[in-house]
């Protein structure tokens, strides 16, 4: 029996082999089916292995490979946390591969995607498995570059090159932050192994600096506001199954990095770390979903909604940190489990929704919701699973999104006992932000589904749409089934997560499997409990009862007629509500502050024949206030430093000399 970690490494090797295969067979017509078939099979094997070691609690297994730095080697380790994230990664990978079997056949340039797809999967697996700082950073960069290549797959489309450029800059920045963080963690002695870092002592100022750097490094990959700007550009630019992986899975790998360092390597947290993470998480959740609401491009809307969900996860992690710092083990375990549960849920429904958006894109060639509509008649199966995804992500019972939100709210309700005043005031405020984000998410997905799938077709392309292939449908239906199952049987998921919480927090949530009727009870029964299965059974029973009685004893007649619309027949589909008009009330309420939205109405005087015009001005304040000044500063400096290129050799020598003297002086004063 080879150890679990070796199995995973073999899977990674197989994925890298698939990359080689993709390059070798790039001329073949069957390479698409070959590559996605191979990644599907490998991901399933890796998923089974990870799931087994998570549920069977096999304990941590380690492996050292003699590659990498000569005196260090490459360390890999599979513990409960890594196993959980491997489940997330490989489940998403399996679904994306299955989807790719169908979706990839529409690809015009498959050789730009096929080699990088398995490499990207391998990179994500390796990041989670890495057990020393050098391997971690190397794999992290590998993952970033592979995903960058996938973003640039359609590089001739407008905006994609810019998306790739912004992504590259932000990814390098993030890795720089991670590099510094691991440098600080390893200390002057250079103990790069995670085991050495874990056992080392870290001063409070060091820990604070590492936390800040991790928030910059992992946060920029995950999409924390204001480091999120690349995400809504890059995620939609990639092919849809890669978008699903980037949004549903790669952001989770970033969260894994954050958890690994902050909860595992850094030692006991301070409560102020919790405050910072809470504020960032709450702000990210609300701002992310507001951006999503204003968006009319379906895939960009989904990308912005990812930012919201990342905010929710970070909020929950912040709660866990605050509880952990004050020694409230059970509450910390609750918040931490809720965060992991949401990680899992988000990987399910966000992949599902991106697959749905990809199906719409294949079928109509459109991402712009204002040109879609009425697809529920022409793509009934896709619209059904997309609806499931929308309900799940809107945190509505009995689906899975509600369970994790509910657990987070239960964790919020544990916090009046916290001793620090800042936390006492912060936590209810963040709870309010979460509630607001959840309500806005529901509004956002009413819009996403309503404008895309309901109403009348807004363009000939939407009129002529058809259902997608069976592979894509299979991938979407299996994810929808997972959303449903995790929603009605949350106790099983919570129990499966307990070893992770035990390892990171030192406590776990109570065992759920023994609760009657498969309820979940976070603390004790008199405080709160929820039973998704029963709620689902009740709703089904009540609805069936109503249907039965009405169809049996009252009328069942149906007549089709033209829409009533208060007698105002709308002649064209353009007269329907559009995405922009749907969010107009919300834009008025929140947008004036967050986007400085201004509406300009140009109404011609009576008798004037020119058309009336309506214009909305919106500003992306993060770009305008933060990134534009930053780029301008960089340009300015670059312009000034440009002169350094044209000096004489004497000046260069004197510059080198001056630098040397300054450095020596600094060193002398320092020591």
């Amino acid at each position: 029996m080879i150890p679990a970690v070796a199995q995973q490494i073999w899977c990674v090797a197989a994925l890298l082999g698939t990359t080689a295969l993709a390059i070798a067979s790039s001329r073949s017509r069957r390479s698409t089916a070959l590559v996605y078939g191979a990644t599907f099979a490998i991901s399933l094997v890796a998923l089974a292995g990870a799931l087994f070691s998570l549920i069977a609690r096999t304990g941590a297994t380690e492996l050292t490979l003699p590659i990498g730095l000569p005196w260090l080697g490459s360390h890999f380790r599979l513990d409960a946390l890594a196993a959980f994230f491997l489940v997330v990664v490989n489940l998403g990978a399996a679904a994306a591969s299955l989807y790719g079997l169908g979706y990839g056949s529409h690809e015009s340039t498959p050789q730009r995607i096929l080699p990088f797809f398995p490499a990207f999967l391998a990179g994500m697996n390796l990041v989670v498995l890495a057990d020393d700082a050098f391997t971690y950073l190397l794999c992290w960069e590998f993952m970033s570059l592979a995903s960058w290549a996938l973003v640039m797959a359609h590089h001739r489309e407008p905006d994609n090159a810019r998306a790739g450029y912004v992504y590259l800059v932000m990814a390098s920045f993030g890795t720089l932050a991670l590099l510094l963080a691991f440098g600080l963690l390893s200390g002057a002695g250079g103990g790069y192994g995670f085991a050495a870092i874990r056992s080392a002592q870290h001063t409070p100022s060091e820990a604070a600096l590492v936390l800040a750097l991790m928030l910059l490094g992992a946060g920029s990959k995950a999409g924390l506001v204001p480091l999120h700007v690349w995400l809504p550009l890059a995620h939609p630019a990639a092919p849809s199954h890669v978008s699903a992986l980037m949004s549903g899975v790669m952001t989770k790998v970033a969260i894994y990095g954050f958890i690994r360092v902050v909860f595992d390597l850094l030692g006991p947290p301070s409560w102020s770390a919790g405050v910072v993470v809470l504020i960032l998480g709450g702000a990210t959740a609300v701002i992310g979903i507001l951006y999503a609401l204003m968006e009319n491009d379906l895939k960009r809307l989904l990308a912005y909604s990812t930012i919201e969900n990342i905010g929710v996860i970070f909020t929950s992690l912040g709660l866990a940190l605050a509880f952990q710092a004050n020694g409230f083990g059970l509450a910390a375990a609750l918040a931490f489990t809720a965060a992991l549960f949401h990680v899992l849920n988000h990987s399910f429904f966000k992949s599902l929704l991106f697959f749905g958006a990809g199906a719409v894109l294949t079928s109509t060639g459109e991402r712009d919701m204002e040109k879609l509509g009425g697809l529920i008649h022409r793509m009934p199966l896709t619209s059904f699973v997309f609806l499931v995804g929308c309900v799940a992500i809107s945190a509505l019972p009995p689906f899975n999104g509600f369970v994790s939100e509910w657990l987070i709210f239960q964790a919020v309700l544990q916090s009046p006992d916290l001793p620090q005043w800042v936390l006492k005031i912060m936590v209810p405020a963040v709870g309010a932000l979460l509630a607001l984000a959840a309500a806005l998410a529901a509004a956002c997905f009413v819009k996403a589904f309503g404008i895309t799938f309901l109403g009348r077709a807004r363009s000939p392309a939407a009129e002529a749409a058809g259902e997608v292939d069976r592979y894509s449908l299979a991938a979407m239906f299996s994810l929808a089934a997972l959303c449903f199952l995790a929603g009605i049987l949350p106790g099983l998921v919570i129990d499966a997560l307990s070893p992770v919480a035990q390892a990171m927090i030192g406590h776990r949530m109570p065992v759920q499997a023994n609760d009657p009727w498969l309820s979940i009870v976070p603390i004790e029964e008199s405080r709160s409990s929820y039973n998704g299965l029963l709620v689902f059974a009740f709703i089904t029973a009540a609805a069936s009862l109503a249907v039965y009685f009405i169809h049996r004893f009252a009328s069942r007649a149906i007549r089709r007629g033209p829409a009533w619309g208060c007698g105002f027949a709308d002649p064209t589909p353009a007269a329907q509500y559009s995405g922009a008009s749907f969010v107009q009330p919300i834009r008025r309420v929140f947008g004036t502050l967050v986007f400085q939205a201004r509406e300009h109405v140009d109404m011609p005087a009576p008798g004037d024949l020119r058309p009336a015009r309506f214009k909305v001005d919106m500003h992306d304040l993060v770009w305008e206030r933060l990134y534009t000044p930053l780029t301008e500063a960089v340009w300015f400096l670059a312009d000034r430093l440009n002169q350094l290129q044209f000096l004489t050799i004497r000046r260069y020598l004197s510059l080198v000399f001056a630098t040397l003297v300054t450095l020596l002086l600094v060193l002398a004063i320092w020591s």
């Binding site: 945190a395 709870g431 509004a443 007649a557 619309g565 105002f568």
Partner: protein
């Protein structure tokens, strides 16, 4: 034995809310009519309306999808399940542990989600305007409601409604500032969620100000009956919620004799009557506000909920 009696209480409650809901709306309408010196229809008129609608055929728009036909039943079922979980006359409901107050709020959210989608299904501008405004109102009302839930849950130490009602019925609660704030917040949210004046006008038709009615404009026959019934149930649910959290006097707690059930049912009906009188008087005395004043109204509810919760967080005394 206890389990069986509990199940009977649960089933009795489910039947009771179903029977009482149209009557409550009828009573409110009657009182409003009397306050306006009109005679008004009989208090049983909502039952007749429902029966009439149920017997009629459904006229579906040509491009209505399956979602449009499923939504009335889904919303009705979600609201009914939620209403069945709010203690009315007895706190020991058999299935109250299956969903707590947060889940009840989310169940109502599910109902609204589907109704808003159905409003967009046919693709008329009226449906769109209704859905768009409904989600705007919900985007503020739902957080306000959740904050009210937080506040109450912190005082009672539970989000379980049966536990909350039992705790509130005990004498140890007393008057609290935060409870008062939560109550005002809940009443404001209830007005908005039930499309009452000053947020929306339930009696309006063909006005650009309507919200709820615009959303369900395309519905007819039994579908409309289900949606109307759902709306009646929702009004009853919110009033029961206010009663059970803030005025749970005479509610039967576990282990009481059969006589106490009679008393508590009578007390519950009396409280409903008082609530409908207050609602009618309030609705007659105020004017409907412009749609874009609604966010300010609900923002106030949100702030009250937050303030109440904050007070609980900073001190046990409030």
């Amino acid at each position: 034995m206890v389990v069986i009696s509990d199940i009977f209480v649960q089933l009795g409650q489910m039947a009771l809310v179903l029977l009482l809901a149209p009557l409550l709306t009828g009573v409110v309408r009657k009182i409003k009519a009397r306050l306006l010196r009109r005679r008004g229809p009989s208090i049983f008129q909502p039952y007749r309306d429902l029966l009439r609608l149920l017997r009629k055929e459904v006229v579906l728009a040509e491009n209505a999808s399956w979602l449009f036909r499923v939504t009335p039943y889904v919303t009705f079922a979600a609201i009914w399940v939620a209403a069945a979980l709010v203690p009315t006359f007895a706190s020991g409901l058999e299935f109250s542990w299956s969903a707590d107050l947060i889940a009840i709020v989310a169940l109502l959210g599910s109902a609204r989600f589907f109704l808003a989608l159905a409003g967009m299904d046919v693709g008329t501008s009226f449906g769109g305007i209704g859905s768009s405004r409904e989600v705007m109102i919900a985007a503020l009302a739902e957080p306000a409601m959740l904050l009210m839930v937080f506040c109450v849950a912190l005082i009672a130490g539970s989000t379980q409604l049966s536990t909350v009602a039992t705790f509130m019925a005990s004498s140890e609660v007393g008057l609290r500032v935060s409870l008062g704030m939560a109550m005002i917040a809940l009443i404001m949210v209830a007005l908005a969620e039930n499309a009452r004046i000053p947020v929306d006008n339930p009696a309006t038709h063909l006005e650009l100000t309507m919200v709820h009615e615009a959303m369900i404009l395309e519905y007819s026959g039994r579908h409309l009956a289900m949606i109307e019934f759902g709306a009646f149930l929702k009004l009853l649910l919110y009033i029961s919620l206010i009663i059970c959290v803030f005025f749970p006097w005479q509610i039967t707690t576990e282990g009481a004799g059969p006589l106490s059930y009679l008393v508590s049912v009578a007390a519950y009906i009396f409280k409903l009557a008082v609530a409908s009188l207050l609602l009618a008087v309030f609705e007659t005395a105020t004017a409907k506000m412009r749609v874009f004043r609604v966010p300010e109204f609900l923002g106030a509810a949100l702030m009250l909920g937050l303030l109440g919760t904050l007070l609980r967080f900073v001190s046990r005394g409030f």
